[in-house]
């Protein structure tokens, strides 16, 4: 399984903190995102934002990054701390 987390505005839009996704054929963040977008209109739209950020195993990554069973992947809007 891949553990998927959502933060901030994205978490609110999806009304979801996180879900577990079967790794199956998923090899990249892009593929993971695609499988989530298939869940419906809200997911498709929320995860298509061009400023969408991603972290794989708590490290900032890009959409081409590889993912595998056991990974933790987080999606979130641009950060605004500091």
């Amino acid at each position: 399984m891949i553990k998927v987390l959502f933060f901030a505005g994205l978490r609110e839009q999806l009304e979801c903190d996180g879900i577990e996704v079967e790794a199956g054929q998923i090899a990249t963040v892009t593929e993971l995102r695609g499988s989530l977008q298939a869940k419906g209109e809200t997911w498709s739209s929320a995860l298509s934002h061009e400023s969408l950020q991603v972290a794989v195993n708590q490290q900032l990554a890009n959409m081409q990054a590889g993912v595998k069973d056991g990974d933790e992947v987080a999606f979130f809007p641009p950060v605004t701390g500091g």
Binding site: F7, A8, Q58, P77, P78, V79, G82
Partner: protein, 160 residues
Amino acid sequence: MAVDISISVQAEGFDPGAEYNCLRSENYSDGATAMFVGNVRDFSPEEHGDEHRPVAVLELEHYPGMAEAALTDIARQAAERWPLGRVRLIHRYGPLSAGEEIVFVGATSAHRQASLDACTFMMDFLKSRAPFWKKEFAGKESSGRWVQARDADESALDKW
């Protein structure tokens, strides 16, 4: 000489004076201490021409685990670039009232420019690379508004 790095991601407040004392305690080799503190303002400056909106409460969301890792990484990068003695980073999460401290960055060095540059560098990276998100509330009853990332914060990284 190993750099002494200390990181905290916490809900509780902190005392910048006490943090200064920790940076200085038994530290006779670093003549320079630079610090930056970020506090909650009572208004939100609008980038797009609206009037300033009042802010009573700022809610800070974070990504536990990754937040600590990001701060540690930022401090290590600073310690690789400048000859630092001690580095201290604190970032709070949860609800904060106007005036409260959000973030502390401190660095000691034998060289003033190194300590000041390291603080600027760490704040720049913290703004654009650490997983924290701010939501502003004008009052207790109001629904919040997520703070939007500023292009200027991303482009601030270009100078490093």
